[in-house]
């Protein structure tokens, strides 16, 4: 077999690398572009402000869906942030390096890899059935909280751990108590990272479908309380696409969803860049 010349190898390698890059960008552009191009024409203030019509024909707007989404995201955040932050502080600052701590970390990692629908089944069994929250925003939020806790914990733990050791030492040497070190130095310095973690969770909460499908009920009515059933934007897309003929409505809802996610990602990137700068300046 003739040997391939180094120059040819170089060309082939470059072609593969470039090809990979171009295909990735292309997929991104095509998917997002397609949804936006198909969806944006149907987008109007009216679409955002009227409730869905329901029935086989679909149609109508997404007002109740937006309200359900806000309810769900708000409630989930209120549940996830304090628990997640508490666990992160414990793991970063208090947990001794022993077998139990490693087990907790391992558990958090495993939890992060469990498919969303499995969380959904668990939520259905516990929150919907055993605790009698029925199909409701509350059941959905609790299920979603279980799903998001690993993200919240890991991301904020990293942010807290990234605070230079010298800051802890300096604060302790000034006669600060351990809690003062945590609340006034560590959390304050890690704040942009923690905010990033929260926004990441909000983004995931908006995107999530499978675990909500089996816990939220999916009704299109305006939610009256956290115990009402409801559907989020992603769930609404699923229902429109599968149960109705309103594919255009699904696309428009998809466009709204994508734009929301883009904005949230933008904010996250901006915050983490700020966080990086702050950390670099601190060393």
């Amino acid at each position: 077999m003739p040997r391939i010349s180094p120059r040819a190898t170089q060309r082939i390698a470059m072609a593969c690398v470039w090809g990979g890059g171009v295909i990735t960008v292309l997929i991104l552009v095509v998917v997002i572009g397609y949804v936006l191009v198909q969806g944006i024409p149907g987008l109007s203030l009216d679409f955002l402000l009227t409730p869905p019509k329901g029935g086989l024909a679909g149609g109508g707007g997404i007002s109740t869906v937006i309200v359900s989404t806000l309810y769900l995201v708000g409630l989930t955040t209120v549940i996830v942030v304090p628990i997640g932050l508490g666990a992160a502080i414990y793991l970063a600052e208090y947990a001794p390096d022993n077998r139990i701590t490693r087990l907790i970390r391992y558990g958090v990692e495993i939890l992060a890899g469990v498919p969303s629908i499995v969380f959904g089944l668990f939520g259905f069994a516990l929150f919907v059935t055993v605790l009698h929250f029925n199909f409701s925003i509350l059941s959905g939020a609790l299920t979603l909280a279980c799903l998001l806790l690993p993200t919240m914990i890991r991301t904020s733990e990293e942010a807290i751990k990234a605070v230079p050791y010298a800051h802890r030492e300096a604060a302790l040497a000034l006669g600060a108590t351990r809690w003062q070190v945590i609340s006034k130095v560590l959390l304050r310095t890690a704040l942009p990272g923690i905010v990033t973690a929260i926004i990441l969770c909000v983004g995931r909460a908006i995107e999530e479908t499978a675990c909500l499908y089996v816990t939220m009920g999916g009704c299109a009515a305006m939610p009256r309380s956290f115990l009402s059933c409801g559907r989020t934007l992603s769930l609404h897309i699923y229902y429109l696409a599968m149960d109705t003929r309103d594919f255009a409505g699904a696309m428009t809802t998809g466009a709204v969803l994508i734009m929301t996610i883009l904005v949230i990602n933008g904010i996250t990137n901006w915050l983490s860049a700020r966080f990086q700068r702050k950390m670099k300046g601190a060393t």
């Binding site: 300096a170 302790l172 040497a173 000034l174 006669g175 108590t177 601190a282």
Partner: protein, 262 residues
């Protein structure tokens, strides 16, 4: 516990051993640190100088497996006694670290950090403390117009003086300095040394330094530490700086200060 001996210094270290797990880092250290003077700790790398100075405000407490034997008396009271609150101790015995370590906050918030943690929140009062501390640290004129700016924007030498001002704001009695100039250029070093001489009028200062000229220039008392064969640090010689540098009693001190090892 031995009765308080009024002839003793501000800090009286008595037969102290320090262990990290099974490793003995310091062996049988005893010395009297005089009040309102600068005591320099010198010696080769790894001889336990930093470990020693960290005993004086119990910063070694945060290291897993660190264990202390013997007693260290601050104004006659053993700081390793169970009744001593380590937070109160660190208010009285402040510390400046090797690398300037301002918090990523404004200059003002850095200086006000200590007083705030100790319950002072009155804005006027804090402003007074900040100005006084910065003046004492010879930094006021350079930063008075940028109190609201990030402390990280200051130069290395300014950051270290900021860290000194931050310690002064807590109104300590003793200031420990762990190689405070090792990350600074010669000019910034001179400024810190001048500052130390001024501060020594009111404060008891203990400084660890690698730089023997620095020890000779600024200190009143000098302690020479060395590592023994098992790597434990011992105190070889302790006395007035002028004597230790011109007329060392121990051959090992003489070898070290004349540059024959270390």
């Amino acid at each position: 516990m031995a009765a308080y001996d009024s002839a003793a210094g501000k800090i009286s270290v008595r037969n102290v051993n320090l262990y990290y797990g099974n490793f003995q880092a310091l062996r049988n250290i005893s010395l009297e640190i005089p009040t309102c003077a600068i005591t320099a700790i010198i010696g080769p790398s790894g001889c336990g100088k930093s470990s020693f100075i960290r005993l004086l405000n119990r910063m070694n407490d945060i290291i897993n497996g660190a264990r202390v034997e013997g007693s260290i008396l601050l104004d006659g009271i053993n700081i390793y006694d169970k009744s001593v609150d380590v937070v109160d101790l660190r208010k009285r015995v402040g510390m400046v670290f090797q690398k300037p370590n301002p918090f990523p906050m404004s200059v003002f918030d850095n200086i006000a950090f200590g007083p705030r943690q100790h319950g002072r929140h009155n804005r006027m009062e804090l402003q007074e403390i900040v100005e006084k501390s910065l003046r004492q640290a010879a930094l006021w004129d350079e930063v008075k117009d940028k109190l609201g700016q990030s402390a990280l924007a200051l130069s290395g030498g300014q950051q270290q003086r900021l860290c000194i001002a931050r310690v002064l704001a807590v109104e300590p009695e003793v200031i420990l300095m762990d190689e405070p100039c090792s990350a600074l250029d010669p000019l910034a070093t001179l400024k810190i040394e001048d500052l130390m001489r001024n501060l020594a009028k009111q404060y008891t200062i203990v400084i660890v330094t690698h730089n023997m000229q620095q020890a000779a220039r600024v200190s009143d008392m000098a302690a020479f530490f060395m590592m023994e064969q098992d790597r434990a640090g011992v105190l070889v010689e302790y006395g007035p700086t002028s004597e230790l540098f011109t007329n060392p009693k121990d051959k090992r001190t003489e070898d070290y200060i004349t540059g024959r090892f270390g």
